[in-house]
């Protein structure tokens, strides 16, 4: 059953009639986890649960959940959107499912102890390869390589953050080539 629409929703709906300026990320975030109907410039309607809205292109990513667990995801391009109406405000009904979509095996949860072991293991490997690596971060959860690159938990190749593409590529390759137990 669709939850009754509040006056805030009416405001959301009417606020979105003119498509001239870029809206704030907070505005788009308020749609996430809700079921909406998006009308596009060609007159079509796209219904689904909002996984996210790209703040750059304002494209809406919708998920359709079918009875037989078949899931379809649809992205409606920002430039084609004419309007959005909230159909179901219940953000909890599909929140967990939406959060777990597109999540890779890398994002699995590790225990604190495991994370510490992984961190030290990787630190040893990087030091073995003559890289200036330091433990940093508020709780010592980060590994930083001379301010150029930071590695977050769970310390996989995908956990690296850097503004330098070349360094990023090299470190990622190095992490991938790490043997499973560093002696």
């Amino acid at each position: 059953m669709a939850a009754p629409m509040s006056s805030e929703t009416d405001r959301q709906q009417s606020q979105f009639s003119a498509n001239s300026e870029n809206r704030s990320p907070g505005f788009w975030r308020s749609y996430v986890y809700k079921e909406v109907e998006v009308t596009t410039v060609d007159g079509r309607e796209h219904r689904g649960w909002v996984h996210t809205v790209d703040p750059v292109s304002e494209s809406v990513v919708l998920v359709h959940f079918e009875e037989d667990r078949q899931k379809t995801v649809e992205i409606v391009m920002g430039h084609a959107v004419k309007g959005i109406t909230v159909v179901n405000e219940d953000m909890d009904s599909h929140r967990e499912e939406l959060d777990h979509m597109f999540v890779t095996a890398d994002d699995t949860n590790f225990s604190k102890h495991d994370l510490r072991t992984r961190r030290d293991d990787l630190k040893q490997w990087l030091e073995r390869n003559r890289l200036p690596v330091k433990v940093s971060g508020k709780e010592g959860e980060l590994l930083s390589i001379s301010d150029a690159l930071v590695i977050e938990p769970p310390y996989s190749a995908e956990s690296c953050r850097s503004t330098n593409e070349i360094i990023l590529g090299r470190i990622q390759a190095l992490i991938r080539s790490k043997p499973t137990s560093v002696q």
Binding site: P25, D42, P55, T72, V73, A105
Partner: protein, 112 residues
């Protein structure tokens, strides 16, 4: 005059609280922005290699395997694009021409 001084202090307080509120607002905006963008990037990675149905302007609809988006989100790189003239092994679709894309992601948890 005493009133004038009080007004000035009040104004300064207002300016102070406004700039703090602005900082809070900006930081919240950034947090919202990264929340949304990160999910979007995961989505793009998640549909990579999947058969996608593209609805375009002028009632055109095509099927292709989604590969990549360019950094600006202006173009999508696809493979095995089905056209009336046959299947194109590699092609680039302009995002400006696309209205929506749908992908079947199957049952159960998505694992890469």
């Amino acid at each position: 005059m005493e009133d004038g001084v009080d007004d000035k202090t009040q104004n300064n307080d207002i300016l102070q609280s406004t700039s703090t509120t602005n900082d809070d607002r900006l930081s919240q905006e950034q947090e919202d922005r990264s929340f949304l963008r990160e999910r979007f990037l995961h989505f793009l990675k998640g549909i990579q290699g999947k058969r996608t149905h593209f609805k375009m302007y002028e009632k055109t609809e095509v099927d292709a395997t989604f590969q990549l988006s360019d950094i600006d989100g202006q173009n999508f790189l696809v493979s095995d694009l089905e056209t009336p003239m046959g299947t194109q092994p590699q092609a680039m679709l302009r995002c400006a021409d696309i209205i929506s894309c749908s992908v079947d992601i199957g049952t159960g948890e998505h694992k890469m």
